[in-house]
């Protein structure tokens, strides 16, 4: 392993020189971990996450991480992540579909315990029937856990979001976990160009004393959330403490927004802000949406893109502003329930402008033509269908 020097967080994320590599999404996530000064990684393998944690295991073998082990299953892995984080170290884990659901109780307790962990979510179908193919329905289960949730479009986003996730999670006014999601296989196992920061630079180590709760060490007793659980008493005060504790978790995700602006350039990316029709998409659906916008421009149609990078905190204000004059809004997704469409509909007035689709799932790809069909419908463009056999 090369000797790595600690550099300022802002320098590494915003200013450091970059070198272009052609790598998979899994490699991009591991390259971010290499530069994130992670102390410990714990995980349980599941396709398509296995690739990422295998590569992170290699990083441990090379000396980049201090500790790494395979837990017995996801609930144990994510509980151990909580323990390690409370002990003061920087932690990383990752999972996919059924693994995320198996460990969801532990994940949902991270924000309340103020665990600044980073979680890779490499999405896949949630059984049954058993399938390992890409589908991002699992993100909808994550949305009410109190974590910051970022959704990466491609390999570059996967690198940038993962590295920035540590900087965001450990801000003293945030201090909740950050999940970086991207589509399994479509991103994790496909190659793309990624501009990487220098391999010999890494983030400063985590400072567990710069935190909104005391760390567990030999001088300070742990934040005894469970042992003297206030919420186990039945009286108004114990209800109120839990209420304001929950408020604090969600206030913390709200505060993360300013760091999302700082490190990711904002929670959304907009192309053609004066468009008549917008395609709103996150994750790799945004890549297809980007193509649809390009086709539309070639055809002289006034279509724009809103790529949603941050799902939590959800950029309601920003989306409301961009979509205020839109005639129609197309929301393509890689899941059956349309969780992004629901979020957008809840955020804007006159939400009958939203076309909830096209949606594909179960591992299906998202042809750009499906998005174009919806755009044509909104704009009243008649197209002849050609069926190629």
């Amino acid at each position: 392993m090369p000797e790595q020097k600690v550099v300022d967080t802002d320098y590494l994320l915003l200013e450091a020189p970059r070198e272009r590599k052609f790598i998979t999404g899994a490699q991009a996530m591991a390259e971010a971990i290499k530069r994130a000064n992670v102390d410990m990684a714990i995980a349980y393998p599941i396709t398509p996450q296995s690739e990422v944690m295998h590569l992170v295991g290699d990083l441990w073998a090379q000396g980049y991480l201090k500790d790494y082990y395979r837990a017995e299953e996801e609930y144990g892995a994510f509980s151990a992540i909580a323990g390690a984080a409370r002990g003061g170290v920087r932690v990383f884990t990752a999972t996919s579909g059924p693994g995320l659901l198996r460990g969801l109780e532990a994940i949902a307790s991270w924000p309340g315990h103020r665990i600044p962990a980073v979680l890779g979510v490499l999405t896949r179908v949630v059984n049954a029937p058993l399938s390992i193919q890409p589908d991002n329905i699992e993100i909808s289960y994550l949305l009410n856990c109190g974590a910051v949730v970022l959704h990466a479009e491609n390999q570059q986003d996967t690198f940038d979001f993962t590295l920035a996730a540590f900087a965001i999670a450990e801000q003293v006014d945030v201090y909740v976990p950050v999940a970086v999601a991207t589509e399994g296989f479509f991103v994790t196992h496909a190659k793309g160009y990624v501009d990487l920061t220098p391999e010999d630079m890494k983030l400063p180590p985590r400072n567990p004393y710069k935190a909104p709760v005391p760390p567990t060490d030999n001088e300070i007793p742990p934040a005894r959330i469970q042992r003297d659980a206030p919420v186990q008493k039945s009286n108004f005060m114990s209800y109120l403490i839990h209420a304001v504790w929950q408020q604090e978790v969600w206030a913390s995700t709200t505060r993360a927004m300013k760091y999302i602006y700082k490190y990711l350039g904002g929670p959304i990316e907009v192309i053609n802000p004066d468009a008549e029709v917008f395609v709103v998409a996150s994750g790799c659906a945004a890549a297809q949406a980007r193509e649809a916008v390009r086709y539309s421009q070639l055809e002289g149609l006034n279509v724009g893109l809103v790529k949603v990078k941050a799902i939590r905190p959800f950029p309601e204000k920003e989306i409301r502003e961009v979509l205020k004059n839109a005639k129609g809004i197309v929301i393509p997704e890689h899941n059956i329930t349309g969780w992004l469409a629901k979020e957008v509909k809840a955020a804007i007035p006159n939400n009958d402008r939203v076309v909830g689709g096209p949606r594909v799932y179960g591992g299906m790809t998202l042809p750009t033509e499906l998005i174009m069909d919806e755009i044509y419908k909104i704009l009243g463009v008649k197209k002849e269908r050609k069926v190629l056999v």
Binding site: V172, P212, P214, P230, V244, S252, T254
Partner: protein, 236 residues
Amino acid sequence: MKVVPGPEGYIPKVAAMEGTNLPSSPDKGLLFGEEVDEEIAMREAAKALLTKPNPTIFPGPKILWGWSPTAFEEADAILELAKEIPNCRIIPMPDYRPKYPKIDPEAEINPNHPNLTILHNRIEACIFVGVHCHYANLSLRMIRAGTNCFTIAICGELGHEDAMVTLRDAHGEKIRKFKDILIQVRNELGIQWEPKLPPPNPSLPKENWETVSFHDYGEYAFLLMPKKGEIVTDTE
């Protein structure tokens, strides 16, 4: 959202989720949820401490148990500030565990039920200092929900949206600056006061260092006792 003294009601609003942002730079503070120069925030905080009944300082674990030169300096500065506030009291928040079956509200304040201490002592202006941000935020919101107390957060980190006044990056030097502004406001208001330390906490037993034993440290005694067979010859 305008962050003003309560009682706000059954469940408080969350200032951070209602559009209140923390002060954008170390020389700024929040006054009723709006960003202002810290001197302006300090003056309003001073007025509240000088004019409202039973002003009280709540020092938290970062000051009470902080074994660092910074913590020592902050503790000194807080005592200097306390001396200048007429009839000020100091009630510690020594830890964050809920105190059941019943807290002694004259002895301490607790983030799980802070309004018991506020209401029992009829405190209408208070300072949180040296409290970890998570627990300070819980306390500030519960106090705003159920009492009419004017809350001031002197924070070593980034501040607190739910206090009526918040100062950020506040350590010894800034606390002393606040003390100087408080003396200035006190003089402007014509309040006569000879600096003196607050009274000792009436609920705490006097400590006798000649008879103190490991058992007085209760469940934390293991932190002090050497392991079996270990002979400690050198200490810090």
